[in-house]
Structure formats: C-alpha cells, structure tokens
C-alpha cells in the first residue's frame, strides 16, 4: 500500500501544451505514471508526448476515463481549470500552479470539500510513491522506495531532504507536498493520518516552516501515530512580519513562530533536526531505537 496514490490513477494533465505541462508530462511518463490525456482549451486534437489533447476536461474524462488531474495552468486561469476538474468527476486534483490568488484557493478548496474531491496544493510539488508512480514535478531521481513517509510544505527543501535520506540508504514510502500557500486542500495533519494507516511507512519526516498553525495541528497526532516522527522546521532566523519569499511564510499576529512550533512538535514526541543533513541520522536512530 502507498499513501494517496494507488498506481491505478488515470492521469490528466491540465495545461499540457504549456512549457511546464509538457515537460512534466514527459517526466511522469518516464517514471511510469499513467498519463492518459491532456487538456488545453483550443488545442483539442493535438498530442503531446503521445498523449491526446482535449479542449475540455469533460471530453478527457469521457474519452479516456481520466480520474486524476495534475494541473499546470498559469495562475490567472488555475482556479477556473480546477473548478472544471472538480465539476467533471476528477477525484484527485494535484494543483502544481504557484501564485494562485488566495481567494481563488478558498473557493476551490471549499467546493472540493462539498464534492469530496481530494485536492493537493496549490503550489505543491505533488505526490510520489517511489517505484510506483508520481504526480507532480519532483526530481524523481533523488527518491527511492523505502520505509520513510515524507510530508512537506516546501518543495525544494523536501527534495534536499529526500536526497539526504536516499543517500543514507533510507527510501521513501510516499512523499507528499501539501503546498506552500496559505490555503491548501490537504493539511500536514491529514497526510499524517494517511501515514498512520500505511503499513509501508515505518517513520515519518515532517518538514515545516514558520507561519500558520499547520505544524501545531499536525503535532496533536504525533503521540498517537505509533511511528517515530522527525521534524525539520525552517524560518528560525526569519524576521517577524516579513514575508519570506513567494510562499508567504510570515509570522503574523504572534502566530506561527519557530519557537511555538518546535515546542509543540518536541512535546508531542518528535525528534527535531536543525539542518537538512541532520534528518537522515535522526530517522536512522529512531528506527533503531
């Protein structure tokens, strides 16, 4: 078993004729993911990397049975494309697009809840179950199958940690990016519940950052998880009230400080890494321990 993915997904790429869409369609196909269709309004009838392109999600679902979408549509049209997926029967939506307006994200996430569609992102690198499949943009060469479940808000930092784990001989059961934006469809906490039930996952790495209270809420589950958790938090040195990069990590109104998150995680029983290269040793220790 793996988390969120089962390998049977029939994947649609929304925005497949774009630069990122076509590049990552090829990369997903290389990795063995079943990309069955693309959508690019006005480009219906074309093909990208051998994948047929449709004008609408409706056609892609009808003609190719797509049930999962990986969305690369630029920010201005991302919410529109996401709603198209939601209303046309897509069950898992991986919203890779960065810079989606937060009001748009609120609407997409709210509607997805009503329709019970799982949304990962926006601003996510996606999901990878090494050796089984991937939906997203992570450089899959750095991942390898194994016992560590990885969940992160940040993309590149999680690649760094995955690479460190792999280099230390620690493969990953599934790595999930919940997305770096303020409002996302799936929380750190929710991914932990999946790891809890996953036989293949024997330890969990949680990569968090300042801002919001997602880490504190996830921490509440750690004691009952039955698996060791290694947490790595960034933003310890970030000034208060300054937005740290695009992702919107920001300490506001006294919420979301490094100290508060670190304390919550530590008290819940997580081991805390202070650098990316401390993560793998702590995981090894916790698995032995």
């Amino acid at each position: 078993m793996s988390v969120l993915l089962n390998g049977g997904e029939r994947i649609l790429i929304q925005g497949i004729t774009g630069r990122q869409g076509s590049f990552h369609a090829r990369r997903m196909l290389e990795y063995g993911s079943r990309v069955v269709a693309g959508v690019s309004p006005g480009r219906g009838g074309a093909a990208v990397e051998g994948v047929p392109v449709f004008d609408t999600v409706r056609e892609a679902v009808r003609e190719k049975g797509a049930d999962t979408s990986c969305l690369f549509v630029p920010a201005a049209g991302a919410a529109d494309a996401a709603h198209e997926a939601l209303e046309n029967g897509i069950r898992l939506l991986v919203l890779v697009t960065e810079h989606v307006p937060v009001h748009d994200a609120v609407e997409v996430v709210a509607r997805a809840k009503e329709l019970r569609v799982r949304v990962i992102g926006p601003n996510t690198f996606g999901i990878i179950s090494p050796g089984k499949g991937k939906i997203g943009i992570m450089p899959h060469e750095y991942y390898t199958p194994g016992p560590v479940g990885l969940v992160a808000r940040s993309g590149t930092l999680s690649y760094q940690v995955a690479a460190e784990l792999t280099a230390a001989g620690l493969g990953q059961s599934t790595a999930v990016g919940v997305g770096g934006d303020p409002v996302v469809g799936c929380s750190l906490r929710e991914v932990l519940t999946h790891f809890k039930d996953d036989d293949e996952t024997r330890a969990v790495v949680l990569i968090g950052e300042i801002g919001g209270t997602a880490e504190e809420e996830a921490a509440e589950l750690i004691a009952g998880l039955g698996k060791p958790v290694v947490a790595y938090l960034v933003g310890r040195t970030a000034p208060v009230g300054v937005r740290m990069g695009h992702a919107g990590a920001i300490i506001e109104r006294g919420k979301g400080t490094y100290a508060g998150k670190a304390a919550a995680l530590r008290e819940a029983g997580a081991l805390l890494a202070e650098t990316p290269w401390q993560v793998a040793p702590l995981v090894l220790k916790s698995l032995r321990g």
Binding site: R19, Q20, H24, A75, A76, E98, H99, V100, P101, V102, H103, V106, E107, V109, A110, F125, I137, M138, P139, Y142, R153, S154, G155, T156, L157, S158, Y159, Q160, A163, G180, P182, V183, V184, I207, E209, I210, G212, T213, A214, E217, V234, G235, R236, T237, A238, P239, R243, M244, G245, H246, A247, G248, A249, R253, G254, E274, T275, P276, W277, Q278
Partner: protein
C-alpha cells in the same frame, strides 16, 4: 501589497464605508490648507506602512492652519521604524463616543475568511484578551449578509440603531475584502459618532498573487509581486539566492548557525526566466560581501540558473561567489559554470561553510 491608509480609505469610501473627511498632503503648506478647508480640530497622520505609528509620534491633533503646519512639519521629519514619512493624511477630528475593532482576513487553518470584532478599538488586536474577540467565519460563496453583522453586533453588546448600522457596515467591508482580493481589511478603531459608524483608521493588504486582476492598484511595482523573484532585505553581509521559500529559509537558518548572516535573499519562484534571474543577481550583489547560490532544481532548471549566475555576476565580478546546484539539469548547469570559471560545491553544508568563511564568520560552530 499593503496599501497606505489614505489609499485604503479611498477604496472604502468608494464602496460605501463612511470615512472621516480629509485629504492626503505632502507638505506643511498643503496640510495647513487642508486644515483650513476642514475647519475645527484635525488629526494629522503619518502615511507609512508600519505599525506602532501612534507611539512613534506619527499621529497628532491640531487646530487651525498654523498649528497644523507646525505639527505636519514635525511628523514629516520623523522616521518611523526606519521608514521616512513622505505623506500625511489630514482629517477632521471625530467626536468619537465609542471605539470598536473590525477586520476580515483569511484564516489559513479554516481555509476561509474570518471576521474578527471587538467592542474596544485602537490598540493592536494581538494585545486583546481572547474573550473580548468575537469570531465569525465567512461562507465565501454566500457572501456576508447584514444579518450576520447584526448578530455579531448583538454579541458585542451593541443596541438600537447601531445594530443595523453595524450590519450594513460589516457587509460592506466584506465586499471590499472580496472585490479587492484582500488578505486583510481592518478598521481599528471603528468609531461611533452619534448613531453612525465611521472608519477612523483603515488597513487593506492585497494578495500579491491577485494583483494581475487589479491593474488600478499597481503602479511602479517591480520586485515583490507575483511572477517575478521575491526579494527580502535582511541585515547581514551574505547575499542568498535560493529557490523556494522553504529552501531559502533553511539557507538563512544554516548560515546563522554557522556564524554568518544574510544581507538579503531572493526566492526564485518556480519558472522564473533567465533574464529576471540575472537581473536579481545584479541587485543582490550591490549590498553584500559575498554571494551564496543554493539551488535544488525541481521546476527550476540548473542550466538556466547557471546562465543567469554567469550573466548577473558581471555586475559585481569581484564578489566572492559560492554556488551549489543540484536537481533538474544539474550536469549541464555545472558544465556551464565550470566553463565560466565558477567553481561549484556539491553540498549545501559545504556551500554554507565556504561562504561564511569568506565573510569572516568563524564557520566553526558545529551544527
């Protein structure tokens, strides 16, 4: 993007939220003229994008043109949290009978907007005792109706005609919030004048990612808005170029624990073009003793970063440069750097240690 108080009030007024009479001025002379037009007592407020303005002497009262000009001169000479005061808002002084607090912001955990209200106003909401704050989540697709405001007003203890007044007020503030893609719309204090409510202060922060659909709000924006690289100024001497906010913060944390400190950093958003990247690198070089490029390419491609580094470096060719590239198209990136005479290191840890050593940091502290 944070708007100045006077900009926020313009938008509020246009949507139907009562604000004090007043206008923005740039000089003591203009301030005097405004005070003359308004008559009576006025309040003169520094227009800066920083909190704690009142404590810093940036909000003062005056009566008549002469006193107003003097006060305006004093405030224009201030520096508030490192920011110069370039403009003032001169407004009628309201005979406030009561002060309230009202705001709408996006609640990350709930994934939707939340309205906060309190029957006291004027101080920062962070300092309010939790039991004085009333919360109400917004069902965005339904919008906010006046009745929701009336219920909130009743919970705050308001009575009589203030109830329907607060209801309309809150529904209108929600419209401002929604129509302008706001992250925060805040009125603190919201004051009662007779049987009416007036926004005595106004904060409106717009979601940078949504600025593309508010062309009227953006002027002279260059860095820091969506699409381009995100630039943050810090206090140290090492310029940091990283991709992804998480990686950037990790880099800053690691530098600090090794005894170094970043002067500024740029988060290259996924898919930033080479042109923009090299421009950003040029800017960074300007106020730094050394530069650290720390990239793990996913959607970002190492070869593009390498080209940008080589080009951008021409603006400051003597600046010590440490580069670490990993991920997508790594080989090509490393080859380009080699050909340009730039040595790349292979791990983040090594890169951080090298750059700290080059800026005189001890680089010894174990992490």
């Amino acid at each position: 993007m944070k708007l100045y108080e006077y900009q926020a009030k313009e938008i509020f007024a246009r949507t139907g939220i009562p604000v004090p009479r007043g206008r923005v001025v740039l000089s003591p002379e203009e301030a005097a003229q405004a005070a003359g037009e308004l008559g009576g007592e006025v309040v003169i407020k520094a227009q800066v994008l920083a909190g704690g303005r009142g404590k810093a002497g940036g909000v003062r009262f005056a009566a008549g043109p002469e006193e107003t000009a003097a006060v305006a001169r004093t405030i224009l000479d201030l520096e508030i949290k490192g920011l110069p005061v370039n403009a003032l808002l001169v407004e009628e002084r309201l005979p406030s009978e009561r002060e309230l607090y009202l705001s709408i912001s996006v609640d990350r955990q709930a994934g939707r907007p939340v309205i906060l209200a309190a029957a006291e106003g004027g101080m920062e909401i962070e300092t309010f005792p939790e039991d004085k704050i009333r919360r109400r989540f917004v069902e965005t697709r339904r919008g906010v109706h006046p009745w929701e405001g009336r219920e909130l007003a009743a919970a705050l203890g308001l009575r009589g005609s203030l109830l329907p007044e607060f209801g309309k007020f809150m529904a209108t503030l929600a419209l401002v919030f929604e129509r302008n893609d706001a992250e925060l719309a805040e009125i603190n204090p919201l004051v009662q004048v007779g049987s009416h409510l007036v926004a005595a202060d106004a904060r409106l922060n717009i979601d940078d990612a949504a600025l593309f659909r508010h062309p009227d709000l953006t002027k002279g924006q260059e860095l820091g808005t969506q699409g381009g690289p995100s630039f943050v100024r810090l206090g140290g001497d090492i310029a940091v170029l990283a991709n992804g906010a998480g990686m950037a913060m990790a880099t800053l944390d690691v530098l600090e624990s090794l005894g170094g400190k970043a002067s500024c950093f740029i988060d290259l958003g996924g898919g930033t073009g080479e042109e923009e990247m090299s421009k950003a690198i040029g800017i960074l070089g300007g106020f730094s003793q050394a530069m650290l490029v720390n990239i793990f390419g996913g959607i970002t491609r190492c070869d593009e970063v390498a080209r940008a580094v080589i080009r951008g470096r021409q603006a400051a060719p003597q600046l010590p440069l440490v580069v670490r590239l990993d991920g997508t198209n790594q080989e090509e990136g490393l080859r380009l750097l080699r050909e340009a005479g730039v040595a790349a290191v292979s791990t983040m840890e090594e890169a951080a240690r090298q750059v700290v050593a080059q800026t005189g940091g001890k680089g010894e502290k174990e992490v």
